[in-house]
């Protein structure tokens, strides 16, 4: 019984480490360096070719930061920025930017007019 309970605790903590939720407030505190390029609200980038982050999907933002960190996604600026970020930092930042409302949105296929769909 105890063995089973221990196994359950172990399995649960493993799940928690894989899906650890980011903390929005912590993310906001850590977002100062990001704001320099992506804008204070994550929706008004200072350069025309910088992305808007506000409202983007949390898991996508985390995936992108992880990919810059591992080096499979390459960008001269971002590769440097993620060097000192921990997994928790990236989860917090992803949670924060996903929670901010911005101009990013989805237009469902069903609502597209005049494109043959």
């Amino acid at each position: 019984m105890i063995k089973h309970a221990l196994f359950l605790v172990g399995a649960l903590s493993l799940c928690a480490s894989v899906h650890a939720a980011g903390n929005v407030a912590e993310g906001q505190k850590k977002s100062t360096p990001c704001a320099a390029c992506h804008g204070a609200d994550g929706n008004t980038p200072v350069g025309p070719d910088f992305p808007k982050l506000a409202g983007q999907h949390k898991d996508y933002l985390f995936k992108v930061l992880s990919d810059y960190k591992s080096g499979v996604r390459k960008n001269a600026i971002m590769s440097g920025q993620v060097t000192n970020l921990s997994r928790q930092d990236m989860q917090d930042l992803a949670a924060y930017y996903a929670s901010v409302s911005g101009s990013l949105h989805i237009v469902p296929i069903s609502r597209l007019k005049g494109s043959g769909h």
């Binding site: 350069g47 910088f50 898991d59 990919d67 390459k74 949105h105 237009v107 469902p108 494109s115 043959g116």
Partner: protein, 109 residues
Amino acid sequence: MKKLLFLFALLVASSAAVAQSAPKGNAEAAKKDKIAMCIGCHGVPYYKTAFPDVYHVPMISGQSEAYIIKALQAYKSGDRPHPSMRGIARSLSDQDMADLAAYYTSHKN
């Protein structure tokens, strides 16, 4: 005279190169037949990629125009890893990318 001709040729060549490097985006052209390959994923609310990792595909409507072009070019060059996006981006010309960026940056609900 020869020198002048050479200069003129150089001017034509360089302006052609500039025009080629920054084509003007046409949202209508994208809408007509280029977005078909995007909407199967980016037009489905909360759609998730199944390969190689599972996560929501990014929202691209309302994104910065020049960033969309840069992202597509990064998939084409291999600076971004996603296999499906690499395949799609390799099939796009600079004009296609400009058209798609013009379309998605101004995309309204």
